[in-house]
Amino acid sequence: MANWGMVIDLDKCVGCQACSLACKAENNVPHGTPYEHDRHHDMYWHKVIAAHEGEYPAVNTQIIPMPCMHCSSPPCVNVCPSKATFKRGDGIVVQNFRRCLGCRYCIVACPYGARNFNFKDQQDEEYQRPDLPPDLAAEVGGLKYGAEIGPWPYPHRTRGVVEKCTYCFHRIDEALLRIENGADIKIGVDVVPACVEACPTEARFFGDLDDPESTVSRLLASRTYIKLREDMLTNPKTIYLPR
């Protein structure tokens, strides 16, 4: 089974936030309001942050796109009392909204601020995607939909649970099914998460970290890379290439 990871080249990234917007559109993540923004109650599965250092005129700003790190040793999974958050076989850390109690231990445990608590009932927006989620009865990549992880209530959210980035696993699973049925497509090339697809500078790459031929593996072999907060032994699979 693949070990999905994402590589983000900070030298190419210019902070345009197409990734954040594509994520919102792809996953029906509700937009916030000024009130929620001031209280950090608005939801982002993906956010671009800017970190400033130095004093005028020696100023340096790092612009860092922040999806979930999909840690190999995810602290959020360790603390979840209801096993609502777990790591799939392919390494993607997902959240089962139906099991989630809303205790928010995972939000406290996550060193990256990648998790959001859903404080409100989502309004119906006309542009939301009724075609989500993959309503698959079949077994894909060793995962049985319906039986193992349950159908995913994407078009509509549940108030009082925690949500997070999924590396757009619905796209990956759909592609796996297509591949099973003989389609000539490659995950990481033809099928990528929405943020990777939307990046106008092509700063983001997605693929199998265990496949030495994949773009992500080659990039990691050719450049210095950073894993955020490596000292916390989370071993993230979202990896950055510095400038």
């Binding site: 080249d9 030298d11 190419k12 210019v14 902070g15 345009c16 936030q17 197409a18 954040s20 917007l21 919102k24 559109a25 792809e26 937009h31 916030g32 309001t33 000024p34 923004h37 608005d42 942050i49 800017a50 400033h52 004093e55 005028y56 005129p57 100023v59 340096n60 700003t61 612009i63 139906r98 009932d121 989502q122 927006e125 006309e126 542009y127 939301q128 995607r129 009724p130 075609d131 989500l132 989620p133 993959p134 309503d135 698959l136 079949a138 159908p151 209530p153 994407y154 078009p155 509509h156 549940t158 049925n181 389609a183 697809e197 939307a198 990046c199 106008p200 500078t201 092509e202 700063a203």
Partner: protein
């Protein structure tokens, strides 16, 4: 947690709670049965589009499944219009099980090589432009007894009227106005609609057509035209065969933030940084540590308005050290000797300019040497460099650096944009229209009637605050607003004609300067126009018909029928017929012209203009004295949607990426300046000038030249809707009017302000 059957994904239009509670076991049984019924319903009642929709080649049912049982892709090629770059996009449309059509995603179109099939963050906001709650559903007429003003209530101040009545009234007003008292305002519009508006102005016989894009670009354009006379020059940066600019000097330009063509700049930035053999070096001179400055290799903070002087100092070094491209100068340029004399004068020596621009002479000399020796090298003039009273000359000085480095008409340098060979529109008795901001500002008091096509004038001109010049003028005019949604200009309207958005419109777009080669992109409706809204082309055609000018747009031989409903599509098909079949255009969405031929020097000789250049030396430095010692600089963040409204929550909640702030713009100050003024982070402050005052939240930062106040544009709306109104402030309201004398552009950077705590 309680769930109902409707909670199951893929069920029709699910509702979350109806107060009906059942146990989990019962739920499973019920939902299983419901799913079975649903599957049957889905199979029997799979909605389809009729053949009249024109997308027969695609599987159009969003919830239709392919052979793998997965949703089939439905992608309709069209183009964006959230900024003037107008990228080719593909729009995903689905149909719900209830037969409701939804537009759910916007992607780039890989057929467009202009930006490698990429589009920027603004394009995604198109969904909220389409489904904006502030859209007009019917033509509106101001009630007789209601005065115009900022405190508008669209429900109470206007009455709904029919299209026929509205069009009759507008046509009557135009007929009752002499052409020289008729003003036509053009905001951001589709290229095809711009062509129609231009022709419409000619048909009305008015010279008073004002393009609002000129508020930002006229001085820059004029300065470049002094040299080449063409007005279509663009920065290619990376040629099709992969030759890239090796060195870029950004003169206060937001190359990856706001400079057009934005999506192309972003894509090429990625290429220049990591994908090509020679990494491009970028040096940013900017008073503000902008996104571009932060991504550049070097940032040198300079005094606002000193970019032109700095360019001349760089020219001074290049000429003095003989580093210029002698071959280009000898064979393709004129006026160099006079330019050389001006540039070598003492006032433009690095030592002399150093004080004015606040960059030390060694840095200027170093950058000049690097620039001249790394070819091709590009000097990019930003809006903040040219929005001054001497803006044309500043633009020209910067442009001349490109000539000195031999970057004119070479791969990766400056190229001259080609345009698609559109079919002709008829010649009319009046053949000239178009005025500068200066002319309009002088004549506006005498105007009687104005028509604004998606105009955003009141938000983008100086002296626009309550009770100020433009507020009063718009109250006095009979104003017809033609646009899709609530906006500040609509608040001043006597009649509002609701047009559809760009995602519901027919038309074509031309690629703006940047690529060299021509590219055309289609606009086709991805969904039927909402409510009673109509394509702008149809509105223009209908008014012209009432004025007896229906023949002004296409020649009789074009085959376009006089049917108003089908006119927009037929017009676009006729205009693009010389180079692409309409069905192919609808299917692919993009047409690309032949390869660009470099070194053709279409302008003849590059003219070094030396008269008046010394004016760029008149830099007014920030001062400490009260009351107005600080320099006000505006900037345009990437998520400022350029279509006239900002009522889009996605754009609003990520508005200022450098500050991590949304739903706001900030009054940005250097820490030292803030300390001197006794202002702290997050303080509510009042920014005041001789022309007005605004209130905002202070942001105390390191990345700002002391003595400068920067405020992002795009906020301070008052009549656009719940996600835009009363958020932030509009810096235009404190600006005074001054012009660039050559181009008539208002100077958007020369106002001085004072700041105090609120």
């Amino acid at each position: 947690m309680n769930e109902t059957a409707a909670d199951k994904p893929n069920s029709p239009e699910p509702k979350r709670s109806n107060g009906f509670k059942i146990s989990r076991r019962a739920f499973l049984g019920v939902s299983g049965a419901a799913a079975a019924v649903l599957a049957v319903v889905l199979a029997l009642k799979r909605p389809k589009f009729g053949p009249d929709q024109g997308f027969e080649t695609q599987e159009t049912n969003g919830l239709a499944r392919d052979e793998n049982g997965l949703p089939a892709e439905v992608l309709i090629p069209t183009s964006c219009l959230n900024c003037p770059t107008r990228c080719a996009v593909r729009v995903r449309r689905v149909e719900t099980t209830l037969g409701k059509t939804k537009v759910v995603r916007i992607f780039g179109n890989p057929a467009s090589t202009y930006s490698d099939g990429r589009c920027c963050s603004r394009s995604h906001v198109g969904l909220q432009v389409l489904y904006n709650a502030g859209r007009f559903s019917m033509p509106l007429r101001r009630r007789a007894d209601v005065e115009k003003g900022r405190a508008v209530s669209y429900e109470n101040d206007f009455e709904e009227i029919g299209w026929d009545e509205a069009l009759q009234e507008v046509a009557g007003h135009i007929q009752g106005t002499t052409p020289d008292r008729l003003l036509i305002l053009e905001g951001l519009n589709t290229t095809s609609n711009e062509d129609l508006i231009h022709q419409f102005a000619l048909a009305c016989g008015t010279p008073n057509l004002f393009k609002e894009e000129g508020l930002e670009t006229d001085a820059d354009r004029r300065g470049k035209m002094l040299a080449d006379g063409l007005g279509n020059s663009g920065y290619e940066l990376v040629s099709e065969d992969g030759t890239s600019a090796k060195y870029i000097i950004s003169f206060s330009s937001g190359i990856v933030e706001s400079e057009r063509p934005l999506a192309r700049n972003l894509r090429l930035w990625g290429k220049m940084r990591r994908e090509l053999p020679n990494r491009t070096k970028v040096v940013s001179f900017d008073p503000r540590h902008s996104v571009t400055a932060s991504r550049a290799d070097e940032w040198h903070p300079i005094n606002p308005g000193s970019e032109g002087a700095l360019a001349m100092a760089i020219a001074h070094v290049i000429i003095a050290e003989g580093l210029y491209d002698a071959d280009f100068i000898a064979n393709h340029a004129e006026g160099f000797e006079a330019f050389r004399t001006v540039a070598l004068a003492h006032q433009f020596s690095p030592e002399s300019v150093s004080e004015a621009c606040g960059v030390d002479a060694e840095t200027i000399t170093k950058v000049a040497r690097e620039f001249a020796q790394a070819r091709p090298a590009v000097a990019w003039s930003g809006e903040a460099a040219t929005g001054w009273a001497y803006g044309t000359f500043a633009s020209h000085a910067i442009y001349c650096l490109n000539a000195l480095a031999g970057s004119i008409d070479v791969p990766g340098g400056i190229v001259y944009q080609q345009y698609p060979p559109y079919a002709p529109m008829p010649a009319l008795p009046v053949s000239q229209t178009g005025i500068t901001y200066y002319d309009m500002d002088q004549a506006a008091g005498g105007m009687a009637t104005a028509i604004g096509f998606n105009s955003n004038l009141i938000m983008s001109v100086p002296e626009s605050g309550e009770g100020a010049k433009w507020d009063q003028r718009l109250k006095d005019l009979y104003y017809v607003h033609v646009g899709p949604a609530r906006s500040e200009m609509a608040a001043y309207a006597d009649i509002i004609l609701p047009t559809c958005t760009y995602l519901e419109d027919w038309g074509y777009e031309s690629a703006i300067p940047g690529s060299g080669y021509a590219e055309a992109r289609i606009k086709q409706p991805v969904i039927d126009p909402r409510d009673e809204s109509r394509p702008p082309a149809r509105v223009i055609f209908d008014i012209a018909t009432l004025l007896g000018q229906a023949a002004a747009f296409v020649p009789p031989s074009s085959g376009v029928t006089g049917d108003s409903q089908s006119f927009p599509e037929q017009f676009a098909a006729y205009r693009t017929s010389p180079f692409i079949a309409w069905d192919d255009f609808k299917r692919v969405g993009v047409w690309k012209g032949g390869a660009y031929s470099y070194r053709s020097y279409a302008f003849g000789n590059f003219r070094f203009h030396s008269e008046g250049l010394e004016r760029v030396r008149n830099v007014d430095l920030p001062r400490e004295e009260a009351p107005y010692g600080l320099e006000l600089a505006i900037y345009r963040p990437v998520l400022e949607i350029r279509g006239g409204s900002q009522n889009f929550p996605w754009a609003q909640e990520m508005y200022l990426v450098m500050h991590g702030r949304g739903w706001k713009n900030l009054v940005e100050l250097n820490r030292e300046t803030a300390h001197r003024l006794g202002i702290g982070e997050g303080d509510e402050v009042i920014v005041e000038s001789a022309f007005g005052e605004i209130e905002g939240e202070a942001a105390v930062i390191e990345g700002m030249r002391p003595g400068v106040v920067a405020i992002a544009t795009g906020q301070g709306h008052f009549a656009s809707g719940e996600f835009a109104d009363d958020i932030g402030c509009n810096p235009m309201e404190v600006m005074g009017t001054e012009y660039d004398e050559e181009s008539g552009q208002p100077t958007l950077f020369s106002t001085r302000v004072g700041i105090r705590k609120a």
